[in-house]
Amino acid sequence: MNLVAAQIVNGLAIGMLYAVMALGLSIIKGLLNVPNFAHGALFAVGAYVCYTLSTIGAPFAVALIGAFSGAALLGFLIERFGIANLTGGSYLLQVLFLFGTALVIEQILVLIYGTTGVSLVPPAMLGGAMDLGFMFLPRYLVFCALVGAFSIVAVWLLIEKTRIGSSIRAGIERREMVQCLGIDIGTLLTLGFALGAGMAGLAGGIALPLLGANATSGNDMMAIAFVVLVLGGLGSLYGAVAAGILIGVAQSLTTLVAPSASTLLIYVIMTVVLLIGPKGLFGER
């Protein structure tokens, strides 16, 4: 029983990471109506920015802010100078552009950091484990869950309580009408993409001490984030959060009985949920 509780706690922490990643993907998918195939590469960028800043002596918190900011800046550039210029083109062009951009980013990371990959030991205060009585919980997992929760709440406040957040929600639903209200949709899309990209980068930074990083390490995470997005329901920003946590816990519990099937389980859950209700768990459209 203690083992099950321990896995649930572990799953919550990992699920929070999935949720951060998928929330970013959901914002981009909602606003631009394009699946961000560069999301995994942006995750890797965040991890490498975090690694670089840490190795030059920056505090871990600063490294995480750097991970968010670096990926957000890159997202800004991708949207403003890439996607925005393809809006008159086909959906396929945008998808191919993002796919190509991901490959370019990965190869640049290989050029700079090599193919071996990097890892990072968490700061001393986040090392070791907490004794919960029934289990020892790694402090870093608690940190993951807290940072994940904090960033999700921050995005929630931004989206639900600010004018720009209202504009994003309105823009997801009715792009044309938003322009009629004097809102520059181009800027809104760029900001939304940068925010989503920043969340991928933050997830990469948080995951670095857990998973390490290499140029393609974001691809697995991106696949999971897409599953979470579909499972949560396209068009539902917060469905992605709930689905992320659900997937994290389910995956973690599966490792108790069939560790090698834990990844398979993710795709089985998605398939079953879609067969039963194609809108996903919280889909509104």
Binding site: R163, S166, S167, R169, A170, E173, R174, E176, M177, Q179, C180, L181, G182, I183, D184, I185, E284
Partner: protein, 230 residues
């Protein structure tokens, strides 16, 4: 205040407007009438920059606005309340209205909720939870919140229950009292003539007639012949 000079505009691949010209003076309510497919909605969308003006010029407040992006036309003071309503269904009624609000607009959220008592009690409900008529009032309030110099109102009474049509008519009367400049596209001829100063009639994308309200009331057949179904 607004001048359309020989504009051609397209609806998708089809040319919907052929050299349409008319103007609207400050404080005037102009009714744009015509059958379905005559080009009324395309005219409003062309003014708003949502449909490309392929030829001709739209001037607003002395400045050429054709070719500007829609958000800049909106910031210049033109607001569209579309026939499709386009309520933001996931935002509350109040958020819908606040999203339109521009600093300095005489139509504050509080004033609008007084002007539109039917939606006041639903201010915290999501836009998507309202009836069609309530949504219509909400999007009119949202448009007014921008403090427009020119309001483009597309079929505000379309598909509404009589009580809601009356509510829309009351709002139109209030706009007339406020001397707001309005272009009104309306199938309900009586409602249009109740508030309009002038009428422009479109047929097959061409402005075929323009007359004062008094002339339209004196000779209704002159208007109705362009509205009757063939």
């Amino acid at each position: 205040m607004l001048t359309l000079s020989s504009i051609d505009a397209y609806y998708g691949q089809s040319q919907a407007l052929h050299g349409v010209s008319f103007d609207v003076a400050e404080g005037e309510i102009l009714a744009l009438l015509g059958r379905n497919g005559a080009g009324k909605t395309t005219t409003l969308r062309a003014i708003m920059g949502l449909n490309r003006v392929a030829r001709g010029v739209v001037r607003f407040d002395g400045r050429v606005i054709s070719g500007l992006p829609t958000h800049k036309i909106a910031r210049a003071g033109v607001t569209l309340v579309p026939e499709t309503r386009d309520a933001f269904s996931l935002l509350s009624v109040e958020e819908n209205i606040r999203l339109g609000y521009r600093t300095g607009s005489p139509y504050t959220v509080e004033r609008l909720l007084e002007m539109f008592p039917i939606i006041r009690e639903f201010r915290l409900k999501k836009g998507g939870e309202l009836s069609g008529g309530q949504q219509q009032l909400m999007v009119m309030a949202r448009g007014l919140a921008m403090g427009p110099k020119l309001l483009l109102l597309d079929e505000p009474s379309q598909g509404l229950a009589p009580i809601m049509v009356n509510a829309v008519a009351e709002v139109l009367s209030a706009l007339r009292r406020d001397r707001l400049t309005v272009i009104l596209v309306e199938q309900n001829l009586r409602m249009a003539l109740d508030v309009a100063d002038r009428v422009v009639i479109l047929e097959d994308g061409v402005a075929v007639d323009a007359l004062s309200r008094a002339a339209a009331l004196a000779d209704p057949a002159r208007v109705e012949k362009h509205l009757a179904v063939h």
